[in-house]
Symmetry: C2
Subunit: 81 residues, 2 copies
């Protein structure tokens, strides 16, 4: 059964407040070399491909409709057969 | 400057409630082929390597101390030079 790995990230032009907090925390722990942190979501799915739509079409549709917010987020995915 | 990409996932033996909710949502939207969804965190960092510790050691230490909870989570990372 194909496995799909999806990574959703905030668009680069947007401030990542959560990443900023993590960066500050790392600095305060002594990791001063950390320059930028950006945080996203990672999703792993097992997909039983069915119906007429191709696996790619199906994954893209799911990302656009539910898994990401296309206004503020980008996504990439990888299919492991 | 090296970029580090970290993926933190819940250990496989643990129930992923958030993933379960996403799976149910996908089913209710008509994607019945989705068998299992597991959700994790994705982090991208720019690292100015400094000091004596190697980049790998530094990343592993940051993951163990802050970025993941080793009791319930696993992590993988990739360094892009």
């Amino acid at each position: 059964m194909p496995q799909v790995k999806v990574i959703v990230t905030l668009k680069p032009s947007l401030l990542d407040a959560q990443g900023r907090v993590v960066q500050d925390a790392l600095h305060s722990m002594g990791y001063h070399g950390v320059e930028q942190v950006r945080i996203g979501k990672y999703m792993e799915m097992q997909l039983n491909s069915e119906g007429t739509a191709s696996l790619d079409d199906q994954v893209r549709e799911m990302c656009d409709r539910l898994l990401s917010n296309p206004v503020i987020e980008n996504y990439t995915y990888e299919v492991v057969l």
